[in-house]
């Protein structure tokens, strides 16, 4: 069973008098242990699609199923709970909080759960991405590649089912990008999670188990 599934999802935006169809009846799914790469030109609807999969936004039409449950009509608070427990996010600009140490950044999604101590998991994840010796560094003391590996550790802290990556190598050079992608691939298998990444980077496509192309809001 697919861990995430979009059934006929459309998204329309109203800007002034103009209506923009960002997504048109998109069907999509991803399974555990699978890396799906969504490619397409700028403005094709990749980001909107990622926002749907990541429960950051709601569709105008269609259904979203997460782990077999219909989450289409979930309100903001319920979607937050799902993001917290089921989804991990990796961004192009890493988005680590500059005032927190690397370890604190990794624990961020679960920081408010004071009843569970995630420190062990955080240290374990950081050791697995090869940064066990950088726990107390702040993001500005780290290279881009290191920051992205921290962000990957952060995305996995709550043991999600899905890792969503928005241009994860977009701000990295070729070699560093390769290291990061190796890392993601390895963790995908170790943790048995689905990885959905959007990119227009050909390098990423080489790591994909499946490639989905989207043009003008339509999956090709």
């Amino acid at each position: 069973m697919s861990v995430i599934r979009l059934n006929g999802v459309s998204k329309r935006y109203q800007t002034g008098a103009e209506t923009i169809d960002a997504l048109k009846h998109v069907d999509f799914h991803a399974d555990r242990g699978e890396m799906v790469v969504v490619t397409g030109p700028s403005g094709s609807g990749k980001s909107t699609m990622l926002n749907m999969i990541g429960l950051l936004d709601t569709p105008t039409e269609g259904e979203i199923h997460l782990d077999g449950r219909d989450v289409t009509d979930f309100g903001e608070d319920d979607r937050t709970e799902e993001r917290r427990s089921q989804l991990g996010f990796v961004f192009q600009n890493f988005h680590l909080l500059p005032m927190l140490t690397a370890e604190e950044n990794v624990e961020l999604p679960s920081m408010w759960d004071t009843d569970v101590d995630r420190r062990e998991r955080a240290v374990d994840l950081l050791e697995r991405v090869g940064l066990g010796d950088r726990l107390t560094h702040t993001p500005d003391e780290l290279s881009g590649g290191q920051q992205q590996r921290f962000a990957i550790a952060r995305s996995l802290i709550n043991e999600p089912d899905i890792l969503l990556a928005d241009e994860p190598t977009g701000n990295l050079d070729q070699d560093t990008g390769e290291t990061v992608l190796d890392e993601i691939t390895r963790l995908k298998e170790e943790e048995n999670i689905a990885v959905v990444s959007i990119t227009h980077d050909e390098q990423l496509v080489e790591y994909a188990d499946r490639v989905v192309r989207i043009v003008d809001g339509v999956v090709q």
């Binding site: 709970e81 927190l100 961020l108 920081m111």
Partner: protein, 383 residues
């Protein structure tokens, strides 16, 4: 690491603390605004208290007293024993001290002379402050004399004074400043028996528990002795003067507090501005927090905690500064630094602190609410 592991238990506090540390200048300026507001409120409040205390202490201990003297329509040449007994009955819970007065000239061996008022009474203790010597409950054959007169005449404790053919020994000196009732210049206090040649009392002093009780006793005495158009006994109280002073200083205190509140209001607008700016700057960051699953309530708490921190730190520094300013005020107005610690004035430190905390949290509500409720997609796009 100790502090950090403690803070981990309070994630909102940890985040707020780190966030405030990011732009120290801005944080310091916001705190400074609160400090000024707290100092304005607390020290103006304390100034009002100091003014009131100073005014009250000028009145001395007179507010709880009433003085009865013969009225215009009295039949006798003074207040009779029977009338004194009646006063005791009419004003039961008070100390009633009948007095006979006279004037006399005293001459010393050194050739100096002094004209003094002679007061005869049984128990001088409630009425006079003794600066040197003891304060006898009964004078017997002793005398009290004003310090300044004693100095003029070269009298010391144990020296004899002659009045009406009798010798009295000086047992104590009356402190020169005991309220504005005693003129400080020349009083000789003798036992009542020394003025036995006078049949009637010249005045009766009533000492009550407090100003209200003194007024009550005075009213009772007036009601008993005086008719509508005739005044057997005339009663004077000082409590109404005290009331006037209190009501004036209360008004003054309110006006001063009002001025102080304006500055705290300005400070809270500054906090609103600082919090709004910093949440707008951190829009993308807050979007990330929301995207990775941090709840709206948690974001709200984090930002409110930041505002509360500003209030707490500003409040504490402001209270400390107010304590210093209050000390100066009390030293200048009441000549007593320690009075600033009395609850009547130190409570303004607490008020200032609470005001600061409340104003800061109130100012944080809007920015916190705005940040917490922005859609994560919009916030992320804005980064």
């Amino acid at each position: 690491m100790g502090l950090t592991s403690l803070l981990r238990r309070f994630p909102s506090v940890l985040m707020a603390w780190r966030n405030l540390g990011r732009n120290r200048t801005r944080t310091a300026l916001a705190v400074l605004g609160i400090v000024i507001g707290v100092i304005a409120i607390a020290s103006l409040g304390m100034a009002g208290v100091a003014l009131e205390q100073q005014a009250t202490s000028s009145l001395g201990g007179l507010t709880d007293q009433a003085t009865v003297s013969p009225g215009e329509d009295i039949d006798t040449d003074g207040i009779t024993d029977t009338q004194v007994e009646t006063i005791r009955d009419v004003a039961p819970a008070t100390t009633v001290i009948p007095q006979k007065t006279n004037r006399t000239g005293l001459s010393a061996r050194n050739g100096e002379e002094a004209n003094v008022q002679v007061v005869g009474l049984e128990n001088p203790a409630p009425l006079y402050d003794i600066s040197v010597g003891d304060e006898p409950a009964r004078l017997e054959s002793g005398a009290l004399i004003s310090e300044s007169t004693a100095r003029t005449l070269g009298l010391e404790i144990g020296d004899p004074i002659e009045y009406d053919g009798q010798l009295y020994r000086v047992r104590g000196l009356i402190a020169s400043d005991s309220g504005f009732g005693s003129d400080g210049g020349g009083e000789l206090v003798l036992p009542l028996s020394a003025l036995n040649s006078q049949e009637y009392y010249d005045s009766v002093t009533i000492i009550a528990e407090d100003g209200d009780a003194a007024t009550e006793a005075a009213n009772a005495i007036e009601a008993h002795f005086n008719g509508e158009d005739d005044e057997t006994l005339s009663v004077t109280t000082y409590a109404s003067v005290q009331e006037d002073i209190t009501s004036f200083t209360d008004t003054l205190e309110l006006a001063l507090l009002g001025i102080g509140s304006i500055s705290l209001f300005v400070a809270s607008v500054a906090i609103l501005n600082v919090m709004l700016m910093s949440t707008i700057e951190r829009r993308g960051e807050i979007g990330v927090l929301r995207a990775v699953g941090v709840r709206r309530g948690e974001v709200l708490r984090m930002i409110l905690t930041e505002a509360a921190f500003l209030g707490i730190v500003g409040g504490i520094i402001g209270a400390a500064g107010s304590l210093a300013v209050g000390g100066v005020i009390f030293y200048v107005l009441a000549n007593d630094l320690a009075l600033v610690l009395a609850w009547s004035s130190s409570r303004y430190l607490l008020y200032g602190f609470i005001f600061a905390l409340v104003a800061s949290v109130l100012s944080g509500i809007y920015p916190a609410w705005k940040a917490a409720n922005e859609s994560p997609v919009d916030a992320l796009r804005g980064s």
